[in-house]
């Protein structure tokens, strides 16, 4: 109990004193995860919507695979990306291993299936609701996708936030491909793992609280920006 209290106190102190190292680590955490989120959304949102409204031969198989990939173990993803990016791997010449870019790549692989799957679920329900009307109004494929994405934007936001949540708290993959190098690839989660290993619980806890605060902060920000959950809105 004492450890937790001390952790809280030092967390507050770290934030108040604007500890440069804390800020550096936090900003890198945000950069990596938000970068991965942008790339993932660009892939997953159209993919999920497409899967919801188009019928094609291997659709069911694609969806099952996608759902299975949601549970992809980050450590394994990290390992595979490590092998691909290592000197002897196929992309070794690009020299990406142990850089934030490698961490973004690993996170994209982890969160894309999650976002695509949630998008697909949400869009499928909306499409079932709108289907008859949009067919009757003689809409084109483009108009349908546009309508669904616009009217389902709040669900898509939820999908994106779920992806962000998984990314920001993830440690297995980025530890392997990033290497937790001070001033280069150290982020909040890897720093917590390191400090815990060193036995510095109060610093580890402080970083933990900062991480949680960061996740909550980003969620609130996005909700506020998109004005969800307000009276008279959806």
């Amino acid at each position: 109990m004492n450890d937790i209290f001390e952790g809280l106190v030092s967390a507050v102190w770290l934030v108040i004193s604007l500890d440069p190292e804390l800020i550096e680590i936090s900003v890198r955490s945000l950069q990596v995860t938000l970068g991965a989120l942008v790339v993932s959304c660009a892939i997953a949102l159209p993919l999920g919507t497409f899967l919801a409204i188009r019928r094609f031969r291997y659709r069911r198989l694609t969806i099952s695979v996608l759902n299975a990939l949601m549970g992809l173990p980050p450590v394994v993803v990290g390992l595979v990306v490590y092998i691909l990016l290592s000197r002897s791997g196929p992309f070794g010449v690009m020299g990406l291993l142990f850089t934030p870019t490698a961490m973004v790549i690993a996170q994209v692989i982890i969160i894309t299936p999650l976002i695509a799957s949630i998008t697909h679920q949400a869009m499928r329900e909306l499409w079932a609701e709108y289907h008859d009307l949009l067919i009757s109004l003689n809409t084109s494929q483009r108009q349908r996708i546009k309508t669904l994405v616009w009217d389902g934007r709040r669900n898509l936001l939820t999908a994106a936030l779920a992806g962000f949540g998984r990314g920001i708290g993830e440690v297995g993959a980025i530890m392997i491909v990033g290497g937790n190098i001070d001033h280069a690839t150290r982020v909040l989660t890897t720093a917590i793992a390191l400090e815990t290993g060193k036995g510095d619980f109060s610093l580890a806890l402080a970083l933990g609280f900062v991480l949680i605060a960061l996740a909550i902060g980003v969620n609130i920000c996005i909700h506020w920006l998109s004005r969800t959950e307000q009276e008279g809105r959806w």
């Binding site: 709108y130 008859d132 009307l133 003689n138 809409t139 309508t147 009217d151 008279g232 959806w234």
Partner: protein, 237 residues
């Protein structure tokens, strides 16, 4: 104005998974006024409407308008039994079909305001359409279908689950649309409503047209025993 009528159905069959839904159905719709389709549940009323509207695939036969299908599609509207509301404001629901056409903004606004007035929703423009009451939703759905000024309007039991006042509002909008020249084809379970609105009527039974004719003869002197029984309120299997 060129007209998309007459609509001709020739020996139309609709089968799903080997089961016959309707067929054979042959009929011609032309002129103006309101055609009412009556019949028990499962007699194929909705399927018939959807076939006419072109959203249900037919297994056999032919459905022909006076113009090519793609053009005819542009001049039709359809109102569903359970109104489908876009998750947008009332105003945006009314704007939507016009926006699909790429109509000019000021024209869209003018028509939207006009139809908000007609449907009595002018005070609810900015609230979410999903929060309207059942009667308001159906009025909005009707307004959204009529805002494109369709030549032909299909309605699938638009007053099911509505109370008297809401039904009267819908009927007022329908007679107004008819007087403005819209050809209306609707199904109903309410014989009173059928009598109030119909210019002519069709009786569907077991997936086929059992009897049809002008309203007066249809309601006053039905020919088939089934239709007589239906009007009496008997349950016909």
């Amino acid at each position: 104005m060129t007209t998309i009528l007459p609509l001709t159905l020739q020996d139309v069959w609709v089968r799903r998974r080997g089961k016959r839904l309707i067929g054979p159905v042959s009929t011609t719709l032309s002129g103006d006024g309101i055609t009412i389709i009556v019949g028990p549940n499962g007699s194929g009323k909705t399927t018939l409407l959807k076939v006419m509207h072109g959203v249900a695939r037919i297994s056999d036969g032919a459905v022909n308008w006076a113009v090519p299908h793609s053009e005819a599609q542009h001049h039709q509207g359809y109102v569903f039994q359970t109104p489908i509301m876009l998750r947008r404001s009332v105003a945006d629901n009314l704007r939507y079909p016009l926006q699909l056409r790429g109509m000019k903004k000021d024209e869209i606004e003018r028509r939207m305001a006009d139809w908000a007035q007609k449907t009595g929703l002018q005070d609810h423009l900015e609230i979410s359409a999903t929060r309207l009451s059942g009667g308001e939703k159906q009025r909005l759905a009707l307004g959204r279908a009529l805002i494109r000024r369709p030549e032909v309007l299909f309605l699938d039991e638009p007053c099911a689950n509505l109370d008297g006042a809401s039904t009267r509002d819908i009927e007022a909008l329908l007679t107004e649309a008819r007087d403005a020249g819209t050809r209306i084809i609707m199904t109903t379970h309410n014989i009173g409503q059928a009598k109030r609105l119909a210019d002519d009527a069709i009786f569907m039974l077991h997936g086929a047209i059992k009897e049809n004719g002008l309203a007066e003869a249809f309601f006053e002197t039905p020919q088939s025993t089934e239709l007589k029984a239906f009007f009496r309120g008997d349950i016909i299997a």
